[in-house]
Structures are given as C-alpha cells and as structure tokens.
C-alpha cells in the first residue's frame, strides 16, 4: 500500500459557519424577604422578560433561595460555571452583570498578549537562511 491516511477530527471554528453563544444557561436565585434581593426582584419583574426575549438561545431558570443573597449563575458550553453574587445591586447594575455573563466564553480569564490567533500556517513561512538572494552570513 503506497499511501496511508491518518485519522483526525476537523476542528470547530465557532462563527465561521454558525455562531453559537457559549453561555447556554443562566440561573437567577432570589429571596422574597431579604433586602439584599430588592434589586434582583425588580430585575426579574422588569428587565428579565425583555432579556429573555432578546436571547432565545439561553435557557433561563428563576428559582427562590430564601434567606440567601441573590445570585446569577452562568453555565457554559465548556462545562464551567460563573456565579456572580448581586446582593444590594440595583436592576441596571444586575443587567450589566447578566450581559457580562452572557458574553463570556466560559474560559478562565487570561491575559491576551498576542491579539491574533490562527489555525492556518503562515503564508510567508518561517525565515530560512538557505533561501533568498544572498546567503545569510554570520
């Protein structure tokens, strides 16, 4: 057999074809009694329906957690979660936190030093001392 082939998996490129939002689920926990949940309760009443309508691809669950501070938990495609405590925040501050969770990729926060990443090899190639008009001399 003159030739064999190696088996791999084609790598996903989110956004090249379909774009899939990495946040798949948001959990909202609130308390009916405690004062730290006042902003959260306002958020659920006033902001959440519109937010849910704008983001149909996110599964949203609202559940009471009496006697505790309000929390928003984001679940991501890579299996990680991001919880944010929103105690004593008003509804617009909570909306900012929620959109932060929505736009996150779920990865741990990292410092980006090289702004461009590519799966393709460099077209120009790695510099070689053996090519070009003049041979490279030390």
């Amino acid at each position: 057999m003159p030739l064999q082939a190696l088996r791999t998996i084609a790598k996903p490129q989110n956004g090249v074809g379909a774009f899939i939002l990495q946040c798949k689920r948001l959990d909202f926990h609130y308390c009916d009694w405690a004062g730290s949940s006042r902003g959260m309760n306002d958020f659920i009443k006033n902001q959440l329906p519109a937010f849910a309508r704008q983001n149909p691809s996110i599964e949203i669950s609202v559940s009471p957690r009496p006697g505790r501070h309000p929390v928003v938990i984001g679940h991501y495609m890579n299996g990680r979660i991001k919880p944010i405590c929103v105690r004593k925040l008003d509804q617009l501050q909570i909306l900012n936190k929620v959109s932060l969770l929505k736009e996150a990729s779920g990865e741990k926060l990292k410092r980006v030093t090289k702004p461009v990443k590519s799966v393709n090899e460099s077209v120009r190639g790695v510099w070689s001392p053996f090519h070009g008009k003049e041979m490279y001399k030390v």
């Binding site: 088996r7 495609m77 053996f130």
Partner: protein
C-alpha cells in the same frame, strides 16, 4: 415545497424497503395522517392475536408439558400490548426550555417543530420502535451528511487518494466529530432514560465502560467473552479476508470501516407475510408471519454516548431536510460541518514517497525526478541541515529540509506528491452536483475526474 408530504417521506410509514425490518410497521407518533390506534382497536387486535395464537401455542407447548406453568407465564408476557414509552412524550416538548433554547441556538428553520427536535434526541437504545426513536431520521441524515461532504471533498480535491478521502470524510462527519458537535451545541445527555426527564436531553441507555470491573470482580467488562463486536456476517468481515480499498468501497461504510451493529440474517425476525413452518406441526398449511405476533421487546442493547450523539446529529440533519427542504439542509451542513477546519495535508502518511514520485512521473510522462541539493549548512557539525529539491527536468516539483541528505530527499518527494494530490480547481469552476439539483439557477460544469492514485 408545498407538495412535500411528511407522512409519505418518513420511512416508517412506507412499506419497509427491507422486509425484514418488520418493526417499521409501527406508526409514527407525530404522523398527521391518522391518530394513534384507539383503545377498542387495540383490544380487537389483541383478541385477534390471542385467538390466532392459542391453538398453535398449545401445539407448540405439547413438547414441553412438564414446564406448562412456565409456558403460561411466557404467553402472558408475549400478549402484553406495546409498552409505555420510556422517554418524555412529545407533549412535554413544547414546554421544555432546553429544547426551545437549542432550537434558537442552532438557528433551526421555524418549520422544524420542537416535537421533531425532541424526537431527534431519542436514541434507539431507549425505544427500539422506529416510530418513536430517531433511527429513521438518522439513516436519512447520515446519507445526506455523507453525500454533501463527499461531493465537497471530491469536487474541491479531485486527485485525493482513496485512503485520504476516507480519512477526510471521517474527520468531517465521523462519529467522534459528530459527538464533539453535540457538546459544542450544549446538548447534555441523561444519566438514565425515563418519562420524567427533560425532553431537551439526549435520551440513551448508556453502555458500561469497557474498563469497568465485571461482576465477577476479576476481569474487565471488555475482556468478557460476550463482549465481541457484532459483525455484518458478510464475507469481508471474516478474519482471513484481505480488506483492500476496492472491497472497502463496495462493502464498507462511508469511512471505509466495517459496518457494525448490523444484525445477521439469523437474528432478524422474518418479514411480514413470510411462511412459517412449525417443526412440531407437520401439517401442510403454513401460517404466515405478521408483526403483531411478536410484540416489541424493550430489552435493547446499551450504546456509547459517542454513538448516540452521532445519531442525534444525523437525525437532526434528516429532520431539517424533511421539514425545511434541501436548501435548509445544505445550509445546515455548510454552517456546521464544512465550516470546520481540517488540515488535509496532514492526513497523508507516505511509506515510499520517492518510489511513488518516480511512478507518478512515469505515468504522467514527465521526465524522471532527480533530487538536487539546493543548500546545506553544518555538514560536519552535529546539527547539519540540507535543503534538497526534487526536479523533473527544469521544473522543481518539491523541496524539503532534513538533517541528512536522504531525509531531505524523502521529504522533498513527499512534498511533491502532496502538492500533486492536493490540486484544487479554481473556485469559480467548482460546481458540486447538489448545487444544480431541483430548481437551482446554477449551471452544471463538468468536474475534473482524476485517473486515480499511484499504484505500486
């Protein structure tokens, strides 16, 4: 699209192509044509079954009168009507947040209802009845995925050798890729199937891990004698059969692998209306087989998560095709399969590139290839580098660098072969066959067909 009739297209409603698949006679739960059988109809059918079977059953059990009690118990089991589904019914589908989120996330066409999406998530290991699980959709989806992928690869790289073609097909729509796609879509699977779980989860009966300890506590599950793979029973499945590429093209699946999980002819029940001979009867009139005689057994084989995930993605493709048509299915395929990145040149694994290259040059009537040193450094040092080019006449076919002259020559020959095999026509000249199907405005251009890979 107005003439598209779902109940005609869904395979479980048609008379089965393979008459041995008697299960296909079951009805589709979402069929618009007719409602599910009413209770009195069920009772009538049960009565028919009993009256038809009782005299025969007595004959059959006369051989084993000693265990008549056991036979009665067996009869009761057999006469039980079709079992209750072990998965959430389609009525729950519209209330599931997971399902509607998935529908929106994948930007599925609005013509595809949530009920069908829910059905795509039901693996045959949960319910073997094709009217309830995703198997019919998955068969259609597998063919579509294979067709669209292979035409794309072949038209874009007409000189690709067969092994690389199989590997590329596997990389795009092989089971591991489809399983990865399922996790990228955020679809989770159930721990165990049941009617109470969320319909937005992949329902499957999960196979125990092969390296789990078996019940005897001394060996792994995979080492148990029963853990053999079920083959297709064909000749090419036998141990002494040499599976060349011609055989793979003819017998095997779209990745050049043996068909697994196919049942042999002995395992399958007879087709509807097949004459049945009773060994104990000896009478002339043969009874005929009807599917109602053999109720569905819910005792299915467990599957791996990978296989079930692949089935889900295939079924979803099939469902998109059935509900929204060819254009939507192609768009779905382009968005989720062809958008993936595959380095084709890394799939090649040459064993004798220099020999192949000289054969290629002889076949194409080029001058025989000659390797020439282009530049070098450090010949006498511990880390020499040689750059060698392969030339056919004045044309440089390929170039490679290596730590020895021989390695550089072999690399150069491999580079030359790769650039030959990875030839691609101009983008505007490529028309895949499915582009000109139906009422498409595109005009067909004849596509290049290569004479094939080098055979040595």
């Amino acid at each position: 699209m107005k003439t598209l009739r779902l109940d005609r297209w869904a395979s479980q409603l048609q008379p089965p192509r393979n008459p041995r698949l008697y299960l296909l006679a079951q009805r589709c739960p979402f069929s618009t044509r007719e409602s599910t059988p009413r209770r009195h109809e069920l009772q009538r059918r049960q009565h028919q079954i009993q009256t038809r079977w009782q005299p025969k059953r007595r004959d059959g059990t006369s051989r084993r009168q000693a265990s008549s009690a056991a036979a009665v118990a067996e009869d009761e089991v057999e006469y039980e009507e079709s079992p209750k589904p072990n998965f959430p019914t389609h009525k729950h589908a519209t209330r599931s947040t997971k399902l509607s989120a998935l529908h929106a996330r994948l930007s599925l066409p609005t013509k595809l209802p949530l009920q069908t999406l829910a059905r795509c998530l039901i693996d045959p290991s949960v319910d073997p009845r094709p009217g309830y699980n995703n198997a019919p959709l998955a068969i259609l989806g597998q063919e579509l995925l294979g067709y669209y992928t292979s035409e794309h690869i072949i038209c874009h790289y007409p000189r690709l050798p067969m092994p690389v073609l199989f590997a590329a097909q596997y990389a795009y729509v092989g089971p591991p890729t489809l399983a990865a796609m399922r996790t990228e879509w955020g679809v989770e699977h159930v721990a165990a199937p049941g009617p109470e779980v969320d319909p937005g989860l992949l329902q499957l009966k999960r196979m125990e891990a092969g390296n789990a300890m078996a019940e005897d506590g001394t060996q792994f599950v995979k080492d148990l004698p029963a853990a053999r793979r079920l083959g297709s029973g064909r000749r090419n499945d036998q141990f002494n059969y040499r599976r060349g590429y011609s055989s793979r093209i003819v017998y095997d699946d779209q990745f050049g692998d043996l068909h697994t999980g196919l049942k042999t002819l002995d395992d399958l029940p007879p087709f509807t209306g097949a004459p049945q001979a009773e060994a104990s009867e000896g009478s002339e009139d043969l009874s005929t087989f009807t599917p109602q005689d053999h109720p569905v057994t819910m005792d299915t084989d467990p599957v791996t998560v990978e296989a079930a995930s692949a089935g889900f993605v295939r079924a979803l493709t099939g469902a998109v095709y059935l509900h929204a048509g060819t254009a939507a299915a192609k768009a779905f395929h382009r968005a989720h399969v062809l958008s993936r990145h595959l380095k084709l040149h890394e799939l090649f694994h040459f064993t004798h590139p220099t020999r192949d290259l000289s054969r290629l040059c002889a076949r194409e009537e080029f001058e025989p290839p000659v390797a020439r040193l282009i530049s070098e450094t450090g010949r006498l040092s511990g880390t020499p580098v040689f750059v060698v080019g392969v030339f056919s006449g004045d044309d440089k076919l390929g170039e490679g660098a290596g730590v020895s002259l021989n390695e550089a020559r072999v690399r150069a020959a491999a580079a030359a072969l790769r650039s030959w095999y990875l030839y691609s026509p101009r983008e505007e000249d490529i028309v895949v066959p499915s582009d000109v199907e139906g009422e498409s405005k595109k005009k067909w251009k004849p596509q290049m067909i290569d004479m094939g890979e080098i055979v040595t």
